[in-house]
Symmetry: C2
Subunit: 275 residues, 2 copies
């Protein structure tokens, strides 16, 4: 690989993470800035691309990439480019919320997937985003972008709306007052409309989101509860628009959510099982 002159360009990764008053990133921030350059649109990158996107000099990038590679955080492909390594996949599987949820939920989620023959997913909230901790795809599903580890803003997704509706009021206000990203003409980006939607979600116990991110896809989601009946997750399904009435998948979704909630120790799901 040819090492060309370093280009210390301004970096979105570093500037976003670095405290404003500190012009020089710490050693840890430099390491994390390297990892930060990888995303869904940038799975495999050359050393110069990593340097440019991280804002680090080529020599620093070269040294840190070497250290990250020997640890397994980065992997080098045959063509000399770099990607996230297996060690990160392995480490990510130790995230306890996702691990505990997947363990409890996967059998039921598998049943749901078999029953509906469409894409189903299990999500948790991370700040103002939703993360898919499990995603079972179907060949018959809609052409959607859900995938394990995928991150989307709460307001635009069905599971996200469930989690937002049950989040603490401060977080709801933060989302409602923040910029609401528009993906399609149907994405709910009006704070007042979103506030009404969240009230509806709390009252009805489900949400139906029509072509909010992808044309042709309708997403339906219901809450999953844990100890103290707190909403800890949401289970969702995505169907091709027009393939069936979205409401028709609700009984299967609710059954699954109830089974997972019971496995997680939700008192009301246990009571219903006894009663």
């Amino acid at each position: 690989m040819t090492i060309t002159a370093a280009v210390p360009a301004p970096s979105p990764a570093l500037t976003a993470r670095r405290p404003r008053h500190d012009a020089r990133p710490t050693a840890a921030q430099r390491v994390l800035a390297i990892l930060d350059v990888f995303d869904q649109e940038h799975l495999v990158l050359t050393l110069s691309e990593i340097s440019r996107r991280s804002g680090l000099t080529l020599s620093t990038t070269h040294r840190l990439v070497g250290e990250l590679r020997s640890w397994g955080a980065l992997d080098r492909s045959d063509d000399g480019r770099y990607a996230i390594g297996m060690r990160v996949l392995e480490l990510g599987s130790l995230e306890p919320k996702g691990l505990r949820l997947r363990t409890a939920a996967l059998p039921y989620l598998g049943d749901l997937h078999a029953a509906l023959a469409t894409d189903v997913n299990l999500s948790v909230r991370d700040g103002t985003d939703v993360i898919y901790v499990e995603s079972l795809r179907s060949r018959h599903g809609a052409p959607v972008l859900t995938r394990l580890g995928g991150r989307w803003p709460l307001h635009a997704t069905a599971t996200g709306q469930i989690l937002l509706a049950h989040a603490e009021p401060e977080l709801q206000e933060r989302v409602l007052h923040g910029p609401l990203k528009r993906y399609t003409a149907k994405t709910c980006v009006d704070p007042d409309a979103l506030r009404r939607t969240l009230a509806d979600v709390r009252r009805s116990g489900f949400t139906i989101v029509d072509e909010s991110i992808t044309a042709g896809a309708v997403a339906i989601a219901v809450p999953v509860r844990g100890a103290g009946d707190r909403v800890v997750s949401a289970v969702g399904a995505t169907i091709r628009r027009g393939s069936c009435p979205p409401e028709s998948v609700l009984p299967a979704l609710s059954t699954t959510a109830r089974a997972i909630s019971r496995a997680l120790g939700s008192p009301s799901a246990r009571a219903r099982a006894r009663g």
Copy 2:
């Protein structure tokens, strides 16, 4: 949280990763040593436990944990302990081999899971280990330890034996000459027996591994091929011992492996589809 005196104990994490000639770890190695302390048996740790297990002083640990936490690599629970954060789960999902395989394989793996009603998984090789890049559990499955992101030595698992049998000869020799860890009385730890097993696997195209890691569980696996018909992955199922003849799941496993291989561009799987 009370910060007590630092205990700079020798650390398995640091000593294993650090070059022997260098007494002082680099900044990047210190960051990675923090992440290294988390594993399946240590999902949630206090600051002092992280310090002790990483071999870093408590003040260094405190500073780095803070930086890792603000980036999202670590998460702080309500009781003040730390765990791997959602950002790592998200980042790990970008690992290209796993991502590409999951995308191609999940629909077929879901069908297999529904058809067999037992645990099925998809694995790739990482050095001398096998990593589960997908694992669909069943309530009817054997009490096994497969899970997404799980790592096991090649010789002891069914998918691992498939991947080892088709690995380059140098790697096979390295595994055959290295220590072969024993999990149960039935784990294959004899190099000659393992060499014969690998030859059988190449000839027959499958492997059956009986109670190699867990009592009561039998694992069956077949290869998944990609471009150039190279074995890139293995698909496996685990059944309760005695529930059915292990060979009876082979047709379903082979069908699934063939469908995934075709999706990955395997010439022979494409030829069979046409012929």
